[in-house]
Symmetry: C2
């Protein structure tokens, strides 16, 4: 970034969340707009965050026996059309390749919005016997969904990056066991890496994935009180297996259809992370995802320049085995200007090395999350830095968890429900009779929809928030992004 | 793989290379055909190999300061058309998106065949001052080139995976220094990981990348004596910078255009690796790229089954900290059937644990490359395995290097040249006058083209292989894939 370029945000998070969010992304150089409407450029910070999400998640997948593969980006139209609900759900958003070079294609090719249909066509040839199961595949790739709603960087992009897990089992029980494994992994990644809590639950029939029997999600809460769907898991039952002929001979010599799941986490999480943690100074990145975790800023004065720089370099060399560290020794910028730049860019921890610090064999640690400073001895700086990074990670998660808890309310009165939705937003946990009628009614009358239904239910004697008949479940309602 | 399915190759490498190559890929379960003509399905073995190539290469890139990014897969037609030579080179192979959902797009979008044009449009906004340089970006992604020639798995695929590095410098000198860094990295990866040697050199003007000033390549030799281009590096000079307005204010306050490079290694290397190392038993994977490096096969007899399995498990547990190991304890297959399967699948080292071995506290190591066996003590098995994997890696590279050397010939007579090209193939190093006329003439008359020109030249007094006039350089000629 050149000297003189306007630094810093010009709006406050509390005053104009949308404009603030856009400024954080662009000014921190996290990402940029592209010449293709609705598609984003991931600059090194955003892509570095994604690499860390991907690597942590992939290690978990490998630990439970998932194998990575890569299938073509194009899906012949006839395959996409094979499963009726699936094509209905996706075809309005498909980008179609119709020409190659100067030739018109005989059959249109969909740019994958998701890969069920092409994968299942192929794996139906691989699966013959119970010995070929389970088949647990995953791919990390790009997908395209040409949504016509207003695109928002990361949160609603026409192209995004994700994992798509596709697995096949001999029995329903094994498939359902995977649900808990995968939701557990996604919960761990969102909480321990992204430092974002979420509400795990089952989607209603109306909201489930096109072609699945059951869908599960982790739902996050954004600062404006709206929910947004995070990672998800879909139990397909034998639905796709029947359509694509994924059958096997079981141990008794009988032909059976396989039981299938699909699951995903996407670059949308980078947007949620940005919106939840960042502040009026700019981006805040949780230490475990930060491409640069620590920046060292030497404070140059003519008389002590060399001495200060030597100490700063020594600290960098000491730290670089354990953390990702950057020494900002640019001599054409003031230290204050550098502080602003690195705060804007969300570097979790700054080490200031000034002439007086050097004399006292101390340096200053400045935390990005709290904007607090404290002095530590140069001698123990490596331990202090590691501890402080852990504290920052923990603090960000606690803060986000407190926000979610403070904005999750058990509500049994429909009047109160309406008032909370319109005035405060957040999550409303309310009893529901499980009918489409009340699900649609609540949405039409209040703007809040059922984002998901918690898996563990301890509902006794409550009545539906809308119709007053006996409730079947306590559901999570919210205005949703 | 189910019992009963036909195992093993039915043709020999020396007899029908094309059919052998296809069988190796399909029967080893390296990859599979897809419903999209010319696009491949990367099964876990192929994708696992690619993950290892990618991870080793990416670590080298990061070491020299390259930053990863991600740009959209779509390029608006007007951008692709901006650089005349570039669009001429790529537009015959572009897959065009013309519709999204039910709507026709106002402007066609190219599925990226390479990303110069979209990246340079965006980075022209990021570069203002010498302080913004160098800008050294890279992306790992998928690209589509809808070639109409006969597709061959990995070697010529309509969609492939690669890295595309795109860098901008303030001076030509810095840009050219990067050439040596990047070619050095690619040489290291191909030699030390893929175990494939190559000839480094500059492409002729006729063969250079569309839009570049100079192109460099590493050329491999396939078993049939044909060359194939491996990783490449392109020096763009200020060509794209002028077209896309990538200029900066230098230290003297003058506006200058940036100097740019682009460079790539692709999944084609998996095909070269497969063709070079594999044999009549099936796939051979170099140990450093093998997703499974060691397979342990216990030899079950009723009386000693538990004892043998216990020793096999002990060895697995001992090995798993240092190598990727798989214990094949399936009890519905014979040991011999398992040997065949793992040889077909290219696992570098097999450990056989039989009843007599267990009594003698020994096991048998069977090398995939040499198909040789030797007995080692259970006690020192970890060290023996590590050593043997290194030996296999080294042996594969030596064998491939010997093949390349034996098939690289200095030829000064055009008659001899023609005879060698038609009868033996391989690389012919011959003097060339550097005219298009002789380059085209040799190709038309013999079928061999100039694959590249070695960077270091010590040519004295030789005359052009075709016209007899004084030669400017010694060039590498070959029939090329």
């Amino acid at each position: 970034m050149s000297e003189g370029k306007k630094l810093g945000l010009t709006v406050k998070k509390a005053e104009n969340l949308d404009e603030w969010y856009t400024q954080v992304i662009l000014k921190s150089e996290l990402a940029d707009y592209s010449p293709v409407s609705g598609c984003l450029v991931y600059r090194p910070t955003a892509y570095g965050i994604w690499e860390r999400i991907q690597s942590a998640t992939d290690a978990e997948f490998k630990r439970i026996g998932i194998q990575n593969v890569y299938f073509p980006i194009f899906i012949p139209e006839r395959l996409l059309r094979k499963e009726a609900e699936h094509v209905k759900g996706f075809s309005p958003e498909v980008a179609w390749v119709t020409q190659t070079g100067d030739s018109k294609l005989e059959e249109r090719l969909a740019v994958r919005p998701t890969s069920e249909t092409i994968m299942y066509d192929v794996i139906s040839k691989w699966i013959r016997s119970w010995r070929d199961l389970p088949l647990r595949l995953n791919q990390w790739n790009n997908v395209v969904r040409w949504e016509f709603k207003h695109p928002t960087p990361f949160l609603r992009s026409r192209e995004f990056l994700w994992n798509e897990g596709h697995t096949a089992f001999a029995t329903k029980e094994e498939a359902m066991k995977e649900r808990d494994q995968i939701l557990g992994i996604y919960k761990k990644i969102t909480e321990e890496y992204l430092a974002i809590p979420g509400l795990v639950g089952r989607k209603t029939s109306k909201e489930k994935f096109a072609g699945a029997l059951e869908s599960y999600s982790i739902e996050h809460l954004l600062p404006d009180g709206k929910a947004i769907q995070g990672p998800d898991f879909h139990f397909d039952g034998q639905n796709f297996a029947e359509v694509f002929g994924i059958s096997f001979i079981d141990k008794n010599g009988q032909s059976q259809f396989a039981w299938q799941n699909t699951w995903a986490i996407s670059t949308r999480e980078i947007g949620v992370m940005t919106a939840v943690h960042s502040d009026d100074r700019g981006l805040v990145i949780p230490p475990r995802l930060a491409p640069v975790q620590v920046v060292i800023v030497p404070i140059f004065e003519d008389s002590s320049r060399d001495e200060v720089l030597e100490v700063a370099r020594g600290i960098r060399d000491d730290l670089k085995a354990t953390v990702s560290v950057n020494l900002d020794d640019r001599d054409y910028l003031t230290a204050g200007r550098k502080y602003n730049e690195w705060e804007l860019k969300g570097i979790p921890l700054r080490i200031e090395v000034g002439p007086r610090d050097v004399r006292d064999k101390k340096v200053v640690l400045a935390r990005r999350d709290l904007l607090s400073k404290r002095s530590v001895k140069v001698d123990g700086v490596r331990e202090e830095v590691s501890k402080e990074l852990e504290n920052i990670q923990k603090n960000l998660f606690e803060k986000a968890t407190n926000f979610l808890q403070a904005n999750t309310r058990r509500v049994d009165s429909y009047d109160q429900f309406k008032e909370i939705v319109s005035k405060m937003g957040g999550i409303l946990q309310s009893p529901w009779c499980s009918t489409d009628d009340c699900e649609n009614g609540v949405k039409d009358e209040t703007g809040a929809k059922i984002i998901n239904v918690p898996l563990e239910q301890r509902l006794q004697g409550a009545v539906c928030i809308r119709c007053g008949k006996p409730a079947k479940v306590l559901a999570n309602f919210a205005k949703s992004y």
